[in-house]
């Protein structure tokens, strides 16, 4: 890592540390009205530690992680396949385009009541919600990415003897990767936000369910600890896709 990047990261960490210090200070000095319901940062860290060592965190975090991974992977694969077909083939695009455009704006949680009736309250429900939450945006960004590849690259590949399939796999898809990764990155974070909401509403296990238990027991430290886990997971998933995209495209972008 270059000195400049180290400096940038250090500089970026300063506001975070400052906010945490301020949080600790104002809660310790009782500057917050109704301070009982606003524990200091150190209390939240201790609660997080307790949840970890007692195994409660793992019991709730791992099911959430599993649901996100399965739902996101399924939504991403389906979204990329359908989006590629829509972007590459005019007939597929004009057939599926209006349907996707109509369904895309529906919020993922809007599907929840319908899915609860269709699927029931079981392990498939949160996976289906995440699948839907990921599918439409990834499909949309993939189709946009495929369509926005400069047609001259396609023409160049054709004059070099490339069949349609080969043009798609060796030229168009690689050049659409930045757009595809934008969709994946945004939806990776969104998947965590959606799973928490789904678990809060309908599923008895997971970080969302733990969060709701904290609420019913008035354990604000538990609630904030769960939100911290959510925040860190969103950040890690998004960074993962940024990293992968950077590794793939760093040579030519």
């Amino acid at each position: 890592m270059s000195a400049q990047r180290r400096y940038d990261r250090l500089w970026g960490a300063i506001p975070v540390v400052a906010v945490l210090a301020l949080w600790e200070l104002v809660t310790r000095l009782d500057f917050v009205p109704g301070g009982t319901f606003f524990p200091p940062f150190s209390a939240v860290v201790l609660e997080l530690y307790d949840l970890a060592v007692t195994g409660v965190l793992a019991q709730n975090f791992l099911p959430s992680l599993r649901r996100v991974l399965i739902g996101l992977a399924g939504g991403a694969v389906a979204g990329i396949l359908v989006g590629t077909a829509m972007g590459w083939s005019k007939s597929v695009g004009s057939t599926l385009g209006p349907i996707i455009s109509l369904l895309y704006p529906i919020p993922a949680l809007g599907w929840l009541p319908l899915l609860m009736i269709w699927i029931g309250i079981n392990e498939l429900l949160p996976v289906a919600v995440i699948f839907i939450c990921s599918f439409f945006p990834i499909c949309y960004t993939t189709a946009t990415g495929i369509k926005s590849v400069d047609r001259r690259y396609v023409q160049a590949a054709r004059t070099l003897g490339s069949s349609d399939t080969r043009v798609l796999t060796t030229v168009v898809l690689p050049l659409a990767l930045p757009d595809i990764f934008t969709g994946l990155r945004l939806e990776a974070g969104m998947a965590w936000r959606v799973i928490i909401a789904a678990e809060m509403v309908a599923i008895p296990t997971g970080i969302g369910a733990l969060l709701m238990r904290g609420e019913s027991l008035l354990r604000v430290d538990t609630i904030i600890a769960c939100l911290l886990v959510l925040s860190v997971m969103c950040f890690c998933f998004e960074r993962f896709f940024i990293l992968v995209e950077h590794r793939i495209t760093e040579h030519w972008r």
Binding site: Q155, A156, A157, R158, T159, L160, S162, P174, L177, W252
Partner: protein, 347 residues
């Protein structure tokens, strides 16, 4: 190498183009922007729809899709695949043709040596200079042994020095390989330097086709003459060889030295933009004449200055700013220099 024939090609730009490209020749399509030059290349490559017929060696390729026509195409912006390194760009067409790895490696190595780009193998297009990209694009187009090579304004994005160097190199390469080649340009000098024949394309039709001298001396229409720049034509009365590829031609009362070897010269041709006007006497010993400005015709950005030189009229085209800075007017005494390497002998 095939003979390429275009018969009555019509589409959204072309208005009935007939064109024959001889085996192994380098034909330049010359014309203004929007004339239909690039569209003609795309027709040959099978990249756009058209009515009419395209034939390679007498066989129609109208039903043959672009990826089966075996045409090498260097696009105006080169269109190197940005996600592939130079090695993979050059090998792309060979891999598409399912050649064995050994064949691919051999051919790529051969082209790397031919175009002196071996040192670029692992680099990506974003890290290449304009000239390097040009060579890589040419290597990529040549790799699958195309039947015909098409180049769309290949030198337009390069500086003059690099462009001149690459033009000479391309000309030599084309002669060595003998590949039938079509180049699109709007630059007459560029066309003159590389072409076996030049086809003037205007408003979707081929107005005239011939060698450079033929076009300059005998433009078929006023439109062609105006596009080429209405050259000065000096009728020769006598010629005398000076050796070293130079001839002294007596044109009226002017004695003009012309690069030429072979048959006697009928006319000396020089474009107005290659006639230089100066107030002090130029240092050159040859082709410098004293004259009087007779008429001035303003054009967009340039001035056509008609100078009487020993009873002959020479027209010079110069930038308006330069004209104004010299404060030229009717009756001004000036020196006229004809640039030796820009003179064309019509025999």
């Amino acid at each position: 190498m095939p003979r390429v024939e275009l018969r009555n090609i019509r589409n959204f730009v072309c208005q009935g183009v007939d064109l024959e490209i001889l085996p192994g020749e380098l034909l330049v399509l010359l014309g203004p922007n929007g004339a239909g030059k690039t569209t003609l290349l795309n027709v040959i490559a099978g990249l756009v729809g058209y009515e009419g017929s395209v034939r390679f060696d007498g066989a129609s390729v109208d039903a043959v899709p672009a990826h089966e026509r075996r045409v090498g195409y260097v696009f105006q912006d080169l269109v190197l695949f940005p996600h592939l390194d130079v090695m993979s760009n050059v090998a792309y067409g060979l891999r598409a043709g399912r050649r064995s790895r050994h064949e691919v490696d051999e051919r790529v190595k051969e082209l790397f040596e031919l175009l002196a780009i071996s040192h670029l193998a692992g680099r990506y297009p974003a890290k290449l200079s304009g000239g390097e990209k040009q060579r890589v694009a040419l290597a990529r187009a040549l790799a699958p042994h195309p039947r015909i090579l098409l180049l769309d304004e290949p030198f337009s994005s390069l500086d003059e020095q690099t462009s001149r160097f690459l033009r000479a190199e391309l000309r030599q390469l084309q002669r060595d390989l003998g590949t039938t080649t079509v180049i699109v340009t709007h630059d007459l000098t560029e066309a003159h330097e590389v072409a076996d024949r030049i086809a003037v394309v205007q408003d979707g039709v081929v107005e005239q086709i011939g060698v450079y001298e033929e076009l300059l001396c005998s433009p078929r229409s006023q439109k062609v003459a105006e596009y080429l720049g209405s050259p000065n034509l000096l009728e020769c009365l006598a010629t005398r060889s000076l050796g070293h590829g130079l001839v002294e031609a007596v044109c009226g009362r002017l004695q003009v030295v012309v690069p030429h070897s072979g048959k006697a010269i009928r006319r000396v041709v020089v474009l107005p933009r290659d006639v230089l006007i100066t107030l002090p006497r130029p240092q050159s010993e040859v082709n410098v004449f004293q004259g009087t400005v007779r008429k001035v015709t303003p054009r967009t950005g340039t001035m056509l200055t008609h100078v009487d030189v020993g009873g002959s009229e020479l027209v010079a085209e110069m930038p308006t700013a330069l004209f104004e800075s010299m404060r030229l007017q009717q009756g001004s005494e000036v020196f006229v220099e004809l640039r030796l390497m820009k003179l064309t002998a019509d025999s």
